[in-house]
Symmetry: C2
Subunit: 377 residues, 2 copies
């Protein structure tokens, strides 16, 4: 009893204390109702008499009451938090994906806890686990779940997750993606249909188990096999940057290969390739055709506008959001959602000219230094 009284006393003092926020008890006292009624008035208003509801609303207003979501989460065992791990946000593709995902989550009152992995699987797992410890009730990942420790953790804790940007016939659960291999295959086939036979691939780095990059290279291998084209030595890997694209194309040319067309694992690589061609006086698409991947905003504005594979990031973000919410609320969810990619043909693809043209030119239109970054001041 003494305890109770102390509690009450402290409580009533607190009402005057502006720094710490008001609670349901404060509102209840001011509105002369019980805490349960306050709770009901806020969550299921229709079961509370209008007059009482208004009294409570007034008290809420007066006290500047904000429900404490930690308490609610504890009581209801649900945080409405979804963990999201993307490789990077510096790449517009993932930024758009997240924006779409976040908007979808918000519509159902969910919030996104976002971290980036920088394409590192270990980092992805670490972050994901931290997000779950922080209360995430579902996880959205880019690429399939590949870290054993994280997989075990998810299985043990029963936290649902969805994988995005991939498909995998061997695993049909909770995938929101598209067929990377097939998309590249279509790109190659477009080039083949134009008459190209010497096609090189500028790929992202596959050694870090980036399964999207791996799938794209596999698509290239399959396509070249079908059309009886060479493949292995015609593949160069580099990071998904402009500089990476330049380096990859240089590597191909340094091997003495003379491609008439390039398929790239990313628009960034394609931009780099375009730069390198310009620097070497190789005309695109006359001397070399180029196909990108992702269809970034900039792709349409390049010179010449880039032919590329459109990736449905926004659609995937929405679908992933709906899917993970369904899983979290134990509603029925489709096993997998597969989107189609679309080859957007602009101005970097054309028929190959003729064999002898594509050898490296001696005459350059400008000096290399002209294209390098430099800064003064």
């Amino acid at each position: 009893m003494t305890e109770h009284q102390r509690g009450r006393k402290r409580r009533s003092i607190k009402t005057n204390n502006a720094s710490s926020s008001a609670t349901v008890s404060d509102v209840a006292r001011l509105a002369h109702v019980s805490t349960a009624t306050v709770s009901r008035a806020l969550n299921t208003p229709d079961v509370v008499r209008l007059e009482v509801r208004e009294r409570i609303a007034a008290a809420v207003e007066k006290l500047g009451y904000i429900p404490n979501d930690s308490a609610r989460a504890l009581r209801q065992n649900q945080t409405r938090l979804i963990g999201v791990v993307v490789p990077t946000l510096s790449y517009a593709l993932y930024a758009d994906f997240f924006a779409s995902l976040q908007g979808t989550l918000a519509q159902d009152g969910y919030f996104a806890l976002l971290t980036t992995s920088d394409y590192d699987l270990h980092s992805e797992a670490e972050h994901a686990i931290k997000l779950i410890r922080q209360g995430a009730q579902g996880l959205v990942l880019v690429g399939r779940l590949r870290e054993k420790r994280l997989a075990n953790f998810l299985a043990a804790s029963g936290i649902p997750h969805v994988s995005t940007y991939v498909t995998d016939p061997t695993d049909n659960e909770n995938i929101i993606g598209f067929d990377n291999a097939r998309a590249i295959r279509e790109a190659v086939e477009h080039l083949v249909s134009l008459g190209h036979r010497r096609i090189a691939m500028l790929s992202g780095v596959t050694t870090k188990q980036n399964d999207r990059a791996i799938a794209r290279v596999n698509g290239f291998r399959i396509a070249t096999q079908i059309h009886q084209l060479p493949s292995e030595s015609w593949i160069a890997e580099a990071p998904y940057t402009i500089e990476g694209g330049r380096l990859a194309l240089r590597a191909i040319l340094a091997r003495g290969l003379e491609p008439t067309a390039l398929v790239c694992g990313s628009d960034m690589l394609a931009i780099g390739a375009l730069q390198e061609c310009k620097a070497r006086g190789i005309h695109v698409p006359r001397d070399i055709s180029i196909v990108g991947f992702d269809d970034l905003e900039i792709a349409a504005h390049l010179d010449p506008p880039l032919s590329t594979v459109e990736v449905p990031s926004v659609e995937m973000g929405k679908a992933a959001g709906e899917h993970i919410i369904a899983l979290c609320s134990r509603a029925p969810a489709p096993e997998k959602t597969i989107f189609e990619t679309r080859l957007v043909i602009r101005k970097t693809t054309a028929k190959p000219r003729s064999r002898e043209i594509i050898t490296q030119r001696a005459s350059r239109r400008r000096t290399p230094s002209d294209l390098l970054v430099f800064s003064s001041s």
Copy 2:
């Protein structure tokens, strides 16, 4: 009593139940200690005997125990959640800012709740309030706090916030930014020093109270006043997109103005201007000099490489993170942190040629359709 027993029974059954997670009680029972000791072993290990600690660790491992952060947050009244509202993530500048901010927060065990406002102040306020209701203990905003309702809300709830990407001499609290006006002024002065007198500004949209855009236009006005150049009719506004840049430049030219230089409120506008120049056969920098703003990765790779104002997004992200953490933990924080911008001079700025050259050319190197986006299939 019956209630108690039922509770206990449920508890002991729960131990076998893999789907719902273990609690301190479960760990305590398995390790034959009290819940208090478990709590201590996890939070202040040094006060627990080694042997006991190991027993507890084993129990934690076996049960796959994850501390319930909702409960911890409720008990300690701190969520370790920071709300972040940026205009958009599609713009690399803010994506980089967030990545840096998030990394900094993570180092201190804080997490970011991220939403985007799409440059809409009302939306920003709505989102911010939702974030706080969800438990955010601090807020990071881009631009100053301009919505009265949000300002009142923050004041009432005592939630700290920091503003970024701006400075404001009239308000010295919790700002992490740089001087937008001065940066533009420096850009103009660089052009003036090269000999330019007819300088136009392509600005972002200022009607939505975008205070960064407004500050940049003000910088232009100040600079033109100092150097006795015309200003008002030499300003065109457009959204921060490539297409916006093209439209803005067209608007300037349609007014019959013949600028020898353009300062742009964003690299995107500058890219659009560059495109429009190409389409019209206007050579950059011979006929028109262009200065961008932001120094996106792509800026250095444009043709020609873009002279632009470097914005310290990564530094601001780090500083904003440290600042808001300090405020949340009631540690001392600097009132404001102001970074310097740097004018990066590349290849789009040069001395003006002469008056008669800059009139619009009749002969075009290529047809306009050549530069437009189109997609088939």
